[in-house]
Structure formats: C-alpha cells, structure tokens
Symmetry: C2
Subunit: 563 residues, 2 copies
C-alpha cells in the first residue's frame, strides 16, 4: 500500500509536469538560496514582450482589450498558459492544466467576436484559474488527495468522473471566461499552507522561504506570479484571504450564499454551522468586482439552492464613491490593532499604520474598534471544523493510505476521533449566533462616535500576524477565522513589502501570552525581507459591493500616499 | 411531583381566565353540540356595534382609520381586547393577556397623534397578537410547558425573566403596533394541533369538532374569531400555514432569514438544518403585506444576524400587478393535485379545482406540476426534527414532570432517544441540498411549457389533506413540510367551506396506499361540514413580495368568480 500511493502520487505529479509543452519547460529550477524572489524580472526573462504586456494587465484591462479587438482571446490564453507553466515549475502551484481545451475555447470566442462584432459576455477572453475543488469536464479533481486520483470525489466508477461541471464553471463559460488550469490546495483544504503528496509544497513566489498561503495557495502563488489575472478560491477560515495577503493580491471572502458553491468538491460537505464560501483573488480590486458582478448577472440563485437572491447593487457601490468624491463625504473606519491574543508582527503592525495614515490624510476618520472578546466566537467557530472528529477527511486519506501532512495532523490527528452529537452542535450554533449578535450590536453602537450618522463603514484589521507564514509555523488563524464565524464580508488589500531595516520588534517588547511569545520568536526580519504585507477591510454581512469599492479606494489612496 | 405540575398548570390556566375583566366574561360556554360554530353572529351577540365594526376591519383598514383620526388607538385596542377575551373563553386560544399595558400604549399613541398630527409608524394603532414564543416585558413565556412557568425558557432566576423582549417586539413597538396578548401553542411546538397542560385544547372556532391547527393554533383560532386582525406565528413544518388554512385566513411562511427570529423562545434552538421561520397570519393578504413590509422597513438585518439584507421590493410586487392588469399579461401556475402519497380529501380537491377555474377564467394558464418525488426530501426534512433524539423537549418536560400530549409522543416518545452524530447530520444536509437542487431544476425547466418566457410563477397545492384535522388524527404533514425542506415562500389562501352535500369521495375511490386509506377513512362529511378549506400558493425562495401579491390577486378572482 505504502509503495502504491507514492507511485500514484509521483505519476500524477509527473503527468502535471508532462502536460506543459516542451517549449515552455525550464532547463533548471533555481534553489531558494540562488533565487528567493521569482516574480518580476526573474520570470519575465522567459517571456516575450507581448506576453509580458498581456499577463501584467489586470482582468478588467484584458476584458477591455479583447472587447476592443486589440488582443485576441487566443493570444491572451496562450500568454497565460505559458506564464502559468513557468509559475508551476518555480513554485508547484498547479494540479491540472487543460491548455488545449482553453485554446479551443479561445478560438471559438474569437470566431464569435468576428461574427457578431461583440463579446459573448463580460468575461469574454479573460483567463480565470480555478482552485482544485471545481469540477471541469475532461479534467480530474483530486483536491490534493492521492486517493481521489482516477475517481469522482473518491468514488470509483462514478459517472460524474470527468463529465460533470460545477455550477460556477457553467456560469463562467456563459460569461466568456477562459478556463485553463486548476490550482493546488493542501489535502483536506484545512491549512493556511499548501502541501500535499501530489505536488509537494507550493512556495511563495515573492519569498520562497515562505508559504504561498492556503488553502487556495495555488491560486495565490499563480496569480502572484501573474500566471493568472484572476482566480477563484474558497474560504472557510481564511483560505481566499491568506493566499491573497501572502502574495500581494486582492481577495474577497463574500458572505455565505452570495456566490454559487453548487457542485464543487469540498471537505466535510454538509457541515452547516460555518460554511466555506467561494470568491475571487486577483491583482486588482476592480478585477474581483468584475468577477462577482458578472457571476451575479447569471442569477445564480436560480441554480444554486444556497445562493440568496441579492443581485449586484450598483447603488451600494455608488454610495462609497459619492462619499469619497463629495466635498462633505467622510468614511469612518474602526481600527483593530490586535485581537488581544496574538499581536501582529512588525511588518503587519506597520501596514496597519500606513493604512490609517492614508485614510486620515484623505480626510476620513479612524476610531479604535472596541471589539467584543474574540475568544468565545473563535472557539465556537473552530469547533465546527472537527464536529465529525475528522471522519470525512480520514476516510479520504484511507482511500490510498497516504501520509498526512503535519499541518493537518495538528488539528485532525492520525485517525478520526469521536463525533460530536446533535445537541453539542446545536449548543455551539447558539453560542455562535449570540456572539454574532454581540458583534452586530457593538458595530451598531459606533454610530454614536463616528459623527457621520452611520456606524463605522469597515474595520481595518490584520489578516494574519505574519506577512506570510513560515513552513509549519502557521500557528494563529484568529484574524482570518473570526470573520468566517461572523459571516462578514472581507477584502484583503495589499499594502507594502516587509523591510528588515524597519520592521523590528521594540527592544522592550513583552509578549502578552505564550501564543504571542511563539509568534514573536518565530519572526525573522531577514527571512521576511521583501515579503508582501497586507491588511483586511471587514464589512458587515453581504456588503460585497461596498467592500470592493472601499478596497479599490484604499488601493488608490495608498498608492497616492506613496507617490 | 404529579400533583405539583397539575396544580401549577391549573393555577396558570385560572390566572389567564382571571386576567379577563369581569365585564367580558361569558356566563356559560356552550358545548360543541349546542354550538359547533362560534364565529360570526354567535360571537357578535356579545359585542357592541362599534366593536364589531372595528374588529371586522382588516389590519390595513384599521391602520387607515386610525391614521385618518376616525378611530382612536384606545378604541381599537379595547375592542380587540374584548373580542380576544370572548375568543379565549370559547376556544382556549390565549396563554397571556396584557390588556392594561396595551391600553396604556394606545393612549401614548393617541397622544403622539394628537401632538404631531401624524402616526408613529405604519402599524400605528394596529393590534398584533403574538404566538407564545415572543418575549414581552412584564409577561411570561411558557410555550405551553408547565416547567417554564415562573422561569425564562425553563431557567429559574434568569434576569431575562419578564424583562427581555424579542427583537421583533422592539420593531413592532417602533412601528406603532399594539401588543396585547400571546396565543396558545402545543407544548414543544411540534404538532399541527394545539394542546398543552395549561390551556388544554384550542378548538377550531368555525367547527369546534376540529382542531384550530398548530403550532400557531392560538393565532389561528384568535384571528379566526376576529379577536385579532393580524398576528405572528412561526413555521417549521406548517405551523403558520396550518392554522391559517384551518381558520379561513391568509398566512405566509417566508423563507429563512427574511424576518427576524432573534431573541424568541424555540424548541431545539441551534438545529441549523431546517429552521423555523416567523411570519404573519391575518384576515387579508394585504394585512400580511403590511406587516412584512413594515418589519423590513426596520432593517432587521442590522439587528438579527440571521436576517438577510433584502429590503421590501416594490418592483417584484409590481411585476405581478402589471402582468394581471396588462392586456397581454398571463401568469402560469403549476398544479399539484396530489403528492402521490396521500390524496387530499374531497373538500380540498374541490378547492384546488375552484382555484384552477378562477385562474383560467381570469385568462391565466395552469399546467400540471411535474414534481420531483417528495419522498427523499420529506425524509431528509423530517429527520431534522429528531436529530437530538428529543433531548431538548424532554428536558423541558422533565422540569415539571408533566404528561406529554399523545400528539407529541408519536414522534418523540416518552423519553429521549439516542442523538444523531455530526456525520449523520452532514449527510442529511447534503441529501436535502441535492433535493432542493432537483426541485429548482424542475422549476426552471417549466420555462419550456409556460409560453410566457418565464418558468411557472407559483405552484397551487394542498396545504393539508384535510379541511382541518380531527383531534389526534393529524397524520400526514407532507404537504406543508416539503415547503420547509425546500425553504420556499408559501402563502395560504382561503378558498371555500366544506359542504357535506358536495364533498364526497367517489364511490369507487381506491386508496393509493395505507396512509391514503387512513386519510380516506378518517373523512367525515358531516363533521367537516362548514369547515374552512384552503390551498397554498408556493413560490421560489425569498419570493415574499410576489407571493403576497399573487395571494391577494387570487383572493380577488376567487371572490369575483363566486359573485
């Protein structure tokens, strides 16, 4: 058995590499010591100038160029297939490629455009990468499990194998998107790093000492290397936002029921207490908006029983722009410097300050966010991950007998534990609801301090205590997880780059507890130097339009502040 | 212990009666043989003409009269307190009265009106009755449990006892509603009849051989006797719609998350698979709309973490009226004659035909609803009621040691059974979602038959196989429950009155199975004669505006058809 799964995994790993056309293969992959950062000029050396132009344009720009007839869908697709191939060789970010199908689709789109003189939809010709939970016709879904190879979600002989497509895949195709690859995940999806027995470890392209994040770590690394302009990940505890933050990207965690999850593979499917959500990561905030708005134009609530009938609301987006453009407009942000459990490391603390300064300079207000204690809410949220005692994931591991990554063993052990009962789950659901209510009331109460007649517009908070976690050292998920517990909308905004000369703990820094001490001791200014640093902007539930507008605005004022 | 709970229950029962002012007490309650129907002229004999005028006006009419200064809030309140008092004496429909507080509130509203020359809100002066799950300051909540008397939800010494108010109570007060009584429920809430050890049995005022329905049976009976113009019930398997149907009322089961349940007492709180919802019952469809629209104007999503941010959408309501008013407009309905498990009894089958005829006469289209099989969906839905093996409800029974109604024992036994595990629950949740998806796809597929370019606008279906169930003979909940499983919007529309001369099974009727045979054999044309008969109009999830408009329109065309 042991030999078997290793051979199966190796064959699959080789098959992924073999799927890359020979002309795009790299003769040699540099070691991390030789080349820590493989983004920018490093990866550009393998590309032609037009390919660089195309792949360094954001999704909105690509859609515009293709719609204007300046670029063909085929040119765009080929450029991204090439760059994604390079990215995979450098950081192990892909589980599947289907470049030929993508080129064929691109040709059909170009033909459509030639014939009708208009695009098929708002994503016409835009390459969209997919986390390896999406089912795509003719393509496997392993979710990093060796035991899922050759099956549909672990079921051998299932007629859905390589024939079934997830609901959102159907919608993306209708919108004109180009689908061309699926990206790596940690097996089980339950980690902020991306590691499995098929592709190994997905490294952070900006700093290959560090992880690319997880569980949508392949997305983060691929888009970070501009091998994709925008991609779809999922998030049950930070899995969209962590890779976005660690790779200098924007990423949105929508509220449960805003975007269609129907027909996707998942872990612990049917756990109804805190649900995983699907959402985009991309190089710009407006790219995320393009994807979310386009998907909503498909009325997914008619095709996914869990999607709520809330169409894209231009008015809510407009309110933000009216506020910041008008002379009297003022936004108010609540600043969460720390969750009082683990303080952010120096680069993240500095990023928060940069955001505060930019916001204040732009004429807005920042108040301290007096948060209800996170402990109870986090406890209730984290309990939902192990209600079945890990049975679902251990069943999937057992299919092949493969070894379990240490990052997964921490929470799930070597074997399944006892399951929780209905009463336990119900009680936990009530605790979670009560905490949500507390948080909601605290948010509403800020109306007395903002001076705008409204409660705060968003919370500015760390997304993780680290710029990007070091392998096997992702120890504190509190900053991302509490948002899932609350089901709030959160957008990650890239802010700066870690700088070893600036980002230092104060000499007299005294950790607030043992967890904070570990985080403090794990900090290594040298290793983090050059890594991306981000924050998250958190809004109430179902505030996708507002939060995407705020994220875009934040990007603008951060940029102008730097200039 | 046995003596104790009986004495406690009796004392509470007497306290309810004692809370009725002496001048409103009836010298004698007629037996059912003496007076089967206590509605209409029977109850009117105890009221003055102005009281009759007021109490036989619907909620919208009341709001208009009070807003116009024609009626004072005090006059309205007194009239309803009087009629509710009579109703309780005739059919046992109240758990709590708080008439003095109501009169005081009405005086304050009248003073507000006199001072500002305008109303406090859209429900200014409208009495609203509340199912005994709502917490109201200075008032007890027993939910029919003897063990809850003198406690907050069974917890002795809880500071919330008689001090706490449910979120919707706060909203109703802000809207100007008059709160004056709480209505009876079956202990546990898990029955379509209303029976508990405090008030005994709540009878159907139109036909006191029959039940008033449940679990919002007190609401049904009270509003059926016009002791309230509109009231709020809850529905996890039909508990709003059953009492509405059995009492000749309109009642809406909104989708989960449309109306605020925050801070209400409940059974099996935290069961997150199929949730109970709160919604109004009333004498007209427009009264339900008034309540739903008014509540939504309070933005309950800012105060209840489970409410979804969907404001009242005038446009969706207007679409219905535009369709029926326009010369080219046509609606399409799917007719569900039977769920193929238990056929409706003759009065209900006739009501369906009356609706079909009215719809067709009005120029609309009726097609046969080719429903996915209900069996799997019903099984998955019903499983969610006993996930905890009945532990929650048996814990509440154990507080007093009271006896358990036979109607509850059927599903929950004498003692708690083994609890279900997380995996069982997750698997069931997946089965439920898959069934929802099947149903959704079948609904979408009707677009090919309607000829309107849209799928069907609603399903016309029985709400129960009976006009109203006979005591202890409510055996088939399938027609109401499948809607909860799907989380669809459903509005009950009263259609006709059972007629022993017309409503007969065909001589050669052959039951389709044993369940249907039981239903067939339980039918008693004589006993049902004169009982209300209703149907339900079912729409997709979150279609409250559309379904309320359709229900109002259906009422209009049924009426004009009769004329």
């Amino acid at each position: 058995m042991v030999t078997d799964w290793k051979a199966t995994a190796l064959a699959k790993r080789q098959a992924i590499l073999d799927s890359i056309p020979e002309r795009w293969r790299l003769p040699k992959i540099p070691s991390v010591e030789e080349q820590k950062d493989v983004t920018g000029s490093y990866i550009q050396q393998f590309l032609e100038s037009k390919e660089i132009d195309i792949t360094e344009t954001d999704a909105v720009g690509i859609a515009e160029k293709v719609a204007a007839g300046e670029w063909s869908a085929v040119d765009v697709t080929q450029a991204f297939c090439h760059r994604a191939s390079l990215a995979h060789q450098l950081v192990n970010c892909l589980h599947e490629t289907f470049f030929d199908a993508a080129i064929a689709d691109a040709k059909a789109l170009d033909a459509h455009y030639a014939e009708h003189k208009k695009t098929k939809g708002p994503l016409h010709g835009v390459p969209v990468s997919l986390k390896d939970q999406f089912h795509v016709k003719d393509v496997e879904t392993t979710m990093g499990y060796v035991g899922w190879i050759g099956t549909h979600e672990g079921k051998s002989g299932d007629p859905k194998y390589k024939t079934y497509e997830s609901e959102m895949v159907r919608e993306l195709r209708d919108l004109g998107a180009i689908l061309y690859c699926k990206t790596s995940v940690p097996h089980t999806l339950m980690a902020g790093e991306t590691v499995n027995n098929i592709i190994g470890y997905t490294w952070n392209p900006k700093d290959r000492f560090l992880c690319s994040g997880g569980s949508s770590g392949g997305e983060g690394a691929l888009i970070g290397l501009k091998g994709s302009p925008v991609g779809l990940g999922t998030d049950i505890g930070g899995s969209i936002r962590i890779p976005a933050a660690f790779n200098g990207l924007y990423g949105i965690r929508p509220s449960v029921g805003r975007m269609p999850y129907e027909g996707m593979a998942n872990s612990m499917d049917g756990q109804n207490s805190v649900l995983s959500v699907v959402g985009p990561l991309g190089t710009t905030a407006r790219s995320l908006k393009l994807v979310v708005k386009s998907i909503l134009s498909q009325e997914p609530w008619r095709h996914d029983p869990n999607v709520v009938e809330i169409p894209w609301r231009d008015s809510q987006e407009k309110e933000v722009w009216d506020t910041v453009d008008g002379s009297t407009g003022q936004l108010t942000f609540g600043l969460m410097k720390t969750d009082n459990i683990v303080n952010p490391q120096p680069p993240v603390a500095r990023a928060l300050q940069m955001v505060v300064r930019a916001v204040e300079k732009a004429g807005h207000k920042v108040i301290s966010w007096e948060s209800p204690a996170h402990t109870d809410g986090l406890t209730a949220t984290l309990k939902t991950w192990t209600l079945d005692g890990g049975r679902d994931i251990h069943d999937s591991f057992a299919l092949s007998g493969e070894s379990i990554a240490d990052q997964i063993k921490i929470a799930y052990g070597d074997v399944a534990k006892e399951e929780k009962t209905a009463s336990f789950i119900a009680k936990n659901n009530v605790a979670l609801r009560q905490w949500k209510k507390q948080y909601m009331d605290a948010w509403n109460a800020t109306v007395s301090t903002t001076g705008t007649g409204r409660p705060i517009d968003a919370i500015i908070a760390p997304l993780a205590p680290y710029p990007a976690a070091r392998p096997k050292k992702y120890k504190w998920y509190g900053y991302s997880v509490f948002v899932n517990g609350l089901d709030y909308t959160s957008v990650v905004v890239p802010v700066t780059i870690a700088d070893k000369n600036v980002d230092k703990y104060e000499d007299d820094y005294r950790p607030i507890n043992d967890q904070d001490k570990e985080c403090y001791e794990d900090y290594d200014a040298e290793m983090y130097d050059g890594a991306h640093v981000a924050v998250q902007l958190i809004g109430r539930r179902f505030q996708e339009e507002k939060m995407l507008a705020l994220a875009e605005y934040m990007g603008q004022i951060l940029k102008s502040g730097k200039a």
